[in-house]
Symmetry: C3
Subunit: 161 residues, 3 copies
Amino acid sequence: MTDMATLEAELRISRLNLDYARCIDEDRLESWVDFFDGEEARYLIHPRENADAGLEGYWMYCRNKPMMRDRILALRKANIYNIHYDRHIVGGSQVVGVEDGVYDVRTSYCVIQTDVEGRSEVFSAGEYRDKVVLNGGGAKFREKIVVPDTFNIERPLAVPL
Amino acid sequence: MTDMATLEAELRISRLNLDYARCIDEDRLESWVDFFDGEEARYLIHPRENADAGLEGYWMYCRNKPMMRDRILALRKANIYNIHYDRHIVGGSQVVGVEDGVYDVRTSYCVIQTDVEGRSEVFSAGEYRDKVVLNGGGAKFREKIVVPDTFNIERPLAVPL
Amino acid sequence: MTDMATLEAELRISRLNLDYARCIDEDRLESWVDFFDGEEARYLIHPRENADAGLEGYWMYCRNKPMMRDRILALRKANIYNIHYDRHIVGGSQVVGVEDGVYDVRTSYCVIQTDVEGRSEVFSAGEYRDKVVLNGGGAKFREKIVVPDTFNIERPLAVPL
């Protein structure tokens, strides 16, 4: 039976993922990097087909915070992509391991995207594989690997998942 | 770091939203008004496109409980609309403020509708922006503003979201 | 107001459903039966249309663990069906009753399926109606009845929901 300390950690990490998702859904992308811990934090999108086959081949590969900031700057200043709303539906987070105070966590997600005509459809479904630190300053991601089941998308993947 | 009292409040409010959603999904609409606190409670549906632009333009506007009861009575006795099943998938609730014991809360939702042929699709995705009171008598909505991302729907919006 | 003991039970049962769902989504189907308590545990899929009408007519009917094991064995060795990824998005679990230490629980779910081309869509939305036991050995299902709203599916229902 899961002990109370783990249940409480899972509550806090679930909340971290809800905050993270709402930040994206409200298009506050300049704050997105603040969910990560330290300049060396990583954010990757690794489609499940590739991940399962042991293949590299990432859709986004940010191995530190400057790369994340660059990604958002490009998005705001240079990239051309379809305007849309994102809506994350995020399941509860599950701790699957802990090492040196870093939690290894799995969380299922689904992103529903709404286009400029107001029509909504499933854009991406998959899993977050996170390394999370909890401390006095709050919960943050040391690493976030997004593993989408959906490896075929007709619209650009512009905004982080 | 979120304190335990807030985490507990969020658990209770998450549960309120689950109860609320299940009431609709089970078509117990006469009980729907019981989730609201006091005769002056409000229930609005305000599409995100309008809300973001600072425009009025609501899909439903019930500024008190009699208007809610009237809505359900109309639904049962007069309205013509497509028979369907609703299924809410509701994310965890996040307290974003509290004033005079009233919690300001955000919750992402998705409603999957199934038609009389048994086919399911995303009907509405968006956010609940709630004012919630917690007391000995339970958790209730002082105000519930539904903000759908999905502002273009091909079927009637008959049942509350 | 829900008491703390019930809230804690709901947290544990929510986690059981998340574990259960991830077991299926990761295709660890040989472990699927381990979520059930005792050889006499039952797993049924009963479409909502039939359930509401008081009709029998199940999509899967396993009235004990050997039938569950047989189901998975058939899936691995004999059945022909479309290869796909499953992704469950599971809402929070709600205890609606308790009798002799067995919790009666409701949980909304949605399964998004991704085909071999990498395209995702809603495959099934509905409700879990579970009988759950909590004890020192963990949380398990005495009975799990899946009630899909989606009663019309174009793909085979091969894998448990």
